[in-house]
Amino acid sequence: MLPFPGRLMFNPLAGHLPMTDIPGLPSRRSFLKGSAAGVALSALATSASAEKAEAPVSLEDYKREFLNDAEWAFVMAATARLIPSEGDGPGAIEARVPVFIDRQLAGDYGSAEDWYMEGPHDASASPQLGWQTPLTPAEVYRQAIPAFDAWCSKTHGDVFAGLEASQQDEALTALQNGDVELQPEVRDFFSILLANTKEGYFADPMYGGNHGMQSWVYIGFPGARAAFREWPERHNIRYPLGPVSISGERA
């Protein structure tokens, strides 16, 4: 019998960590290694990793749950500038952030299900008092995108998605700095767009973004491993293992 009944739901991946192959460190007793539980659980972990995610549908063919054509074009273009593809690490497009945003807006985040949304509303209250618009996040996207596209057309001659990258960056900077005249009801648009973009970049892949966990690989975050018993005192040594996801993918 295991001393703790809960031990059986211990992290199955922990038994797989190659705890011994850290250069310069003596080998230590690995977590479940050699124990009956370790053997039983390793079978589990193998089968999980065998289910490698299949190549997803292309972003063009993705069936949207919330965003309409114009909104999708905007979100594709804007997230591509917020986290561009150039340079090291995936961009928002490779990470499939637009899919994440679409699904979040279709779900209980988009509808502000957990938030207190009763009136009266004072959308112009001090920003320090937090979310005060009567609109849900999904409604903010819905109202702000056409307003911002109209501003882009007036200022730069086309909707956001039609502009050159450098003009897009200028427009986003204006939006960020509050230089685009928007109704107070949508004044938080830029900040939620940016926050949602980063969420989609770093959240578990099951939410539609962080495709292939490449964002985690890029920065060195091991995802759902969540078992580091031997690590606190391995001072100043970079953790060597790649990430795992909640559904058992590895990268």
Binding site: A112, D114, E118, F202
Partner: protein, 589 residues
């Protein structure tokens, strides 16, 4: 008309840390007890199991374990000229929801107050005279002393399974512990946890500067442990998904790991979930409560639960709200200073420094909620208030926790918030930053208080509670003092880059960024019924069969996280109920 349930001896409102303590202790006397919890049931298995719990978006960002503001919230204004607006979206504080309460997803930093903090007013007057207390500062003494509470702090720490190293064991100062803490009758139940790299660097810098580092007192098991109720914990594996998450492996101290299974085995205890208590009902004589009315979510109806003894343990904010809507204590009026319910609402004043070391690897995902090394060299009992021009103090800590990338991506100032520069920055700096935090006191003021909002109601038509709260110069000066002391220490560590984040003069309360869930006061303890809502046993002055648990009892906040104090007070209160009240129900003071 409300449906009526069978009468119980005791009804407990809210089954979090303090409700669980009340339940298990009172159940020993054979009383018939029911606990009413507004949220869902939650157990380690299946609710916190691996890997589902390891989900930053769901729990860390969308906050699925927390109070649903659509169900219950407060309004906030910074002063009486501002119109209070609802706290619509969680930010500054994150009250818990469901069985275990905030005790399931706290960090586990388990502090005792300093003896001086429990008699703050007389400590200040004795040393510097009354003149240094600003006119609008409503600080006081707790009507109970550290020495009286010491056995109960010890009892809570044994139950909760706290890891650490005593710095003051029965008056003997021990190297490696906190030399400035109040005395402990016993060492910690478990030895300290290992030190991560950031914590080690901070430790070494503190020694070099002549400070006194010690391991953070952690509600995180460092070894296998069995508590007095026979509950078992196993050592933490530094999974890093600690604060805002339930522990998947029985290592974090929580009602689930330390009390609830033992409590559920008691035949005279039962609990009902999805039952939100709406008010405490009063007897005609106005001197006692007859029970509580709650909303049964499943049946979609109001239910009256009669009981001889009512325990309010629904977290500070909800306790005060229930008292205001039920008429327990006179509502506080800041214009006259009269009234008590809602008085002395206080919070926490924090700051910190981030440091970037390009060549160091901190593995920020390896950690736990109470990880790290602390110092108390700038604690309340170490500062000359007369000389420095403020009353207060702080403890400092450094240790990795929550190194998850959506929320925890410190970048050097000047790094763009988006675009190629941001992407380059995260690749370069993730894992190469550490921080030191200052966790400081927030005192009580005449115009920081809680009352009922005139404009907004909840789904049952009850007025929301209104929070009037802003930062005061005294505490901002304390924070600036900490900054002036922390900067040289941080510099001595030779970071490539450092940046300093301490609120200063003119700062106003902002509900958006998370600060702490250390809301205190509002139903404070007092020597007399004119000064507070409850007496020294946390018994309502005006309703002797109502006892109240939690940080609402705090006369003013301390410099520490609240749970060590409120856990000790909960044991102190149940002991008074068992030994003094049950044999002869009456006002105990």
């Amino acid at each position: 008309m409300a449906r009526q349930e069978k009468k119980k001896d005791v009804v407990i409102v809210g089954l979090g840390w303090t409700g669980a303590i009340a339940g298990i202790e009172l159940a020993q006397d054979g009383l018939e007890i029911v606990a009413l919890e507004r949220g869902p049931d939650q157990s380690t298995v299946p609710n916190f199991k691996y890997p589902n719990q390891i989900d930053e978006l769901k729990y860390g960002v969308r906050l699925k374990m927390m109070q649903k503001l659509s169900q219950q919230t407060v309004t906030v204004r910074r002063n009486e000229d501002e119109t209070a607006r609802p706290y619509r979206k969680l930010g500054s504080f994150l009250p818990g929801n469901g069985v275990g309460g905030a005790g399931t997803h706290w960090n586990g930093l388990n502090w005792r107050p300093m003896p001086e903090e429990l008699k703050l007013k007389s400590y200040v007057i004795e040393n510097w005279g009354e003149d240094i207390i600003a006119e609008d500062m409503t600080i006081g003494d707790y009507p109970v002393s550290y020495d009286e509470l010491e056995p109960y702090f010890t009892q809570f720490e044994k139950v909760a399974g706290i890891s650490g190293y005593a710095g003051n064991l029965n008056g003997e100062i021990r190297e490696g512990g906190n030399p400035f803490e109040g005395w402990r009758s016993e060492d910690f139940p478990m030895p300290p946890l290992p030190r991560t790299w950031d914590s080690q660097k901070f430790h070494d810098a503190c020694i070099a500067s002549g400070y006194h580092p010690f391991p953070a007192p952690a509600g995180i098991a460092s070894t296998a442990y069995v508590n007095p109720y026979g509950m078992q914990m196993g050592p933490c594996n530094f999974c890093g998904f600690c604060e805002r998450y339930g522990c998947y492996q029985y290592s974090k101290s929580s009602p689930q790991t330390t009390i609830l299974d033992a409590l559920k085995r008691k035949p005279n205890f039962s609990y009902r979930t999805h039952c939100e208590v709406l008010r405490v009902e009063m007897a005609e004589d106005g001197k006692t409560a007859t029970g509580v009315t709650y909303f049964d979510e499943e049946a979609q109806e109001e239910v009256f639960q009669p009981a001889d003894l009512v325990i309010l343990s629904s977290y500070q904010l909800n306790n005060v709200h229930l008292m205001l809507v039920s008429g327990i204590g006179e509502p506080y009026d800041p214009a006259t200073g009269k009234g008590v319910t809602g008085k002395n609402y206080a919070y926490q004043m924090n700051g910190g420094i981030s440091m970037f070391f390009e060549d160091d690897n901190f593995n920020p995902f390896v950690g736990h909620g109470a990880n790290g090394t602390c110092i108390d060299d700038f604690a309340i009992n170490q500062i000359d208030f007369g000389e420095e021009g403020f009353i207060g103090g702080a403890y400092w800590r450094s240790g990795t926790f929550n190194g998850q990338p959506i929320r925890n991506m410190p970048l050097p100032k000047g790094t763009p918030a988006w675009g190629a520069g941001w992407k380059e920055g995260i690749g370069r700096w993730y894992g190469h930053a550490m921080s030191i935090g200052s966790h400081g006191s927030n005192l009580a003021y005449a115009n920081n208080y809680l009352d009922l909002d005139p404009n907004y109601t909840d789904r049952h038509g009850r007025p929301l509670m209104r929070m009037t709260f802003d930062w005061h110069d005294n505490d901002l000066r304390m924070n600036q003092f900490m900054k002036s002391k922390m900067e040289p220490l941080a510099k001595s560590m030779n970071p490539d880059i450092m940046q300093v984040g301490f609120k200063g003069p003119g700062a106003h309360y902002d509900v958006r960024p998370y600060q702490t869930t250390h809301n205190t006061g509002g139903h404070i303890m007092s020597e007399t019924p004119q000064e507070g809502v409850v007496n020294r046993y946390c018994q309502a002055w005006d309703k002797h069969n109502v006892f109240v648990m939690g940080a609402g009892n705090f006369v003013q906040n301390t410099q520490y996280n609240p749970t060590g104090l409120l856990g000790g007070l909960a044991y102190w209160t149940v002991q008074a109920i068992r030994t003094q009240y049950l044999p002869n129900p009456r006002p105990l003071v």
